[in-house]
Subunit: 432 residues, 2 copies
């Protein structure tokens, strides 16, 4: 019976394309994943490696023996290899490279030499170049002579020898003008271009802003050195967004939802460790005031509220500033305005909600002293939270890191420890 | 001098295209925003409305008087109007609609009748239809006869009368085959299609998976009713991701970073209110044990740690499950496996870190009873955190909401209150 199932499965897998195979692998448990992976045809398996999630790719590369891996990689070209190169063991990558033609080997090396989040690491070498003096009929003939049209090719790049970009020729222009027209009469002369060392996220935003499908990458002399496509930019943004959401919780994008239990447990240790360390540190501020708590135990009940309301509004400020930084909306000119505005909001909200909290504390404990301490501590902690919520993402961005990554750990530490310290400190000073 | 600046500014604004104007408006403070907005030429201003952030669009629509708004909207077609319709006052939208031709009016109405996050609300009416029996030369002639080629048109839709989809014809195929070839010999017969009531996020993932630039939207009889483009899908995903990051902190995507202080303060009230309510509720569990705290004040110092470590790991589980749900990787078949795996991880990590925390507590207070209570409470709270971290996003998704939205409020409430309750409860039972 099992045998029969296998035949059936093999038949079904035959009709899968690479994108669907990758999607399937992404949601299978480990043993199902190995079964399906071992049954995929070589070229489908190879292309699926480009489409699957980082987590699954990591586990598959780990478990597949080098010989099979190498057999699969024959089906990939230099562009595709460079996309998954960071996941491959060094020896497998070297052997796979040796299987390529000389020109492709060179391209792969160049591509791997760019930093991870740069345009250079994402560009492909499949640009189609035409000369400004060609007629459209000549261009069409050359276009037909290509073995295969690269994906997402909506325009050809117009270059003067050698490879100096002078414009782009959209395929629609090629179709809409008479064949005897010259390229330089029809081309768009000032296309959006990118440089190889540009940040990939900025490039992706430019693709969104200018609704690009493909665009040339040029060097400092405006020579075409590669091509970016909207497909690559979309994949980059998706991985980036997903990675950011996980990184915020201290997890890697390579965390495999279906992976083994122990590696799942280990994936969380660093974060747990950081969290425990900051929590311990923050509660040391409580330890300073244990005598105060014994004489007024209501303080122990109320102090987590002051800490929590600070953490909460600080995280709102972080979210707003992270968005502003990602969209490139924050700069020197408007920063002063934004900081003043956030602080003013925290004063207004601190006064308002401080009074409310003080009121509720009075209803619960009937002690006007506690109410006043509660109100003032809330106000002060909200101001501190706003300041920390602004400067943490700015400092992270300035040091070249993702402004969201780890920002909320720093913030929570600040608002917890200051919440405890201010609240218990004021209580000790005024009430005891 | 001011006058001279204004002339200079006006000159610079003249050469801006709509995308750049929108980007500029997005990062100006309010008075600068009004100055630039009032100086933009009508057609640039109109198109910029399509590109600017939701927050800025909201504020601009509010402050611009209806007459100017209406004058700008003349420059937009039905597709563009439907994109920003939700931001316009009802009377302005009605007048703008009245300015359109009858066919465009009908399209606008149909488009507005689809729910907000559906494919129908995002599709455009600019499909180019060809018949399977036409020759490629005939198609090219028709293509040239078009007044203007729509953006992001990489393929034509092949339909049998009336509008029944039988395939798609990529522009590259049109260029690469001889002109006397028939469309049905060259077309791709089984294209990826979408239906108008499909979820926009699913459609966007399909665009990523199959590297689409444009795709037909069909009704239940496979009749073409519209077209989706990668540009629209990218914009949708960006807004969706940004909105989600803000929504997680209880903020709307329409929160204007540069808006007035009072509206900035008000934007945060609902979330502050929810946070205060849950924080108050959670600390009621502390109030139950105030007598215990008086007799063993170290408990007050240690209890926030138990709560915090629970909240932390629970948020990791949420992040993993939210990603899994977004990527559509979680289904009935693998859910049981995932739940067991997460619980097992929480037991392993709970035991490990519980012992560590117990050890540190012993070093601090030299009380073995407190250490054991600390260890057991940590273990139990981590298990509860895992369970809450799994079921909160699943329940939100099942009820049709965004699984990330509000999940961490619910989780923090559970892990705080259970952390306090278990830790102080165990201490009362064993130590007092």
């Amino acid at each position: 019976v099992h045998r029969q199932h296998e035949v059936e499965l093999r038949r079904k897998l035959k009709i899968l394309n690479a994108a669907d195979a990758a999607y399937l692998l992404d949601m299978l448990t480990l043993d199902q994943r190995w079964l399906v992976w071992s049954m995929l045809e070589e070229h489908v398996a190879a292309e699926a490696m480009l489409e699957m999630s980082e987590a699954v790719l990591t586990s598959i590369v780990e478990e597949t023996d080098s010989n099979r891996l190498l057999k699969l990689l024959i089906h990939l070209d230099a562009d595709e290899l460079s996309e998954i190169a960071e996941f491959l063991p060094a020896d497998v990558l070297a052997s796979a490279k040796a299987q390529l033609e000389a020109a492709e080997q060179q391209w792969l090396e160049a591509s791997l030499s760019y930093p991870e989040d740069s345009v250079g690491s994402l560009m492909s070498r499949d640009s189609f170049l035409v000369s400004p003096n060609q007629s459209l009929d000549e261009v069409i003939a050359a276009f037909r002579a290509m073995e295969e049209v690269p994906e997402q090719m909506d325009k050809l790049f117009v270059v003067q020898k050698p490879r100096h970009l002078v414009g782009v020729l959209p395929l629609t222009a090629l179709l809409r003008h008479p064949g005897d027209e010259r390229v330089n009469k029809v081309m768009q002369p000032n296309p959006v271009t990118f440089s190889a060392d540009e940040d990939a996220e900025d490039a992706a935003h430019a693709f969104e802003r200018y609704d690009l499908i493909s665009a040339p990458v040029v060097d400092e002399n405006r020579r075409v050195i590669g091509r970016l496509t909207v497909e690559t930019m979309m994949d980059y943004l998706r991985e980036h967004h997903e990675g950011a959401a996980l990184a915020k919780e201290g997890l890697s994008a390579r965390t495999d939802l279906f992976g083994p239990v122990m590696s799942g447990a280990r994936a969380r240790w660093l974060w747990l460790c950081i969290n425990l360390a900051t929590a311990f540190l923050a509660t040391r501020f409580i330890a300073l005031f244990e005598q105060t708590i014994i004489s007024l135990v209501a303080l122990a009940t109320l102090m987590p509220i002051v800490a929590s309301v600070g953490g909460n509004t600080g995280n709102q400020t972080i979210a707003l500033f992270v968005r502003g930084l990602a969209m490139d909306h924050i700069n020197r000119d408007n920063l002063r305005f934004l900081v003043m505005k956030e602080l003013l909001i925290s004063v207004i909200n601190g006064a308002l909600w401080g009074c409310l909290l003080g009121g509720v504390a009075f209803l619960l404990y009937g002690n006007p002293g506690i109410s006043v301490v509660m109100a003032v501590a809330t106000l002060l902690n909200l101001i501190i939270a706003a300041a920390a919520g602004i400067f943490t993402p700015l400092a992270l961005a300035k040091s070249g890191r993702d402004p969201a990554m780890g920002a909320s750990v720093v913030l929570t530490f600040v608002t917890d420890s200051m919440g405890f310290f201010i609240f218990l400190g004021l209580a000790t000073w005024w009430l005891i």
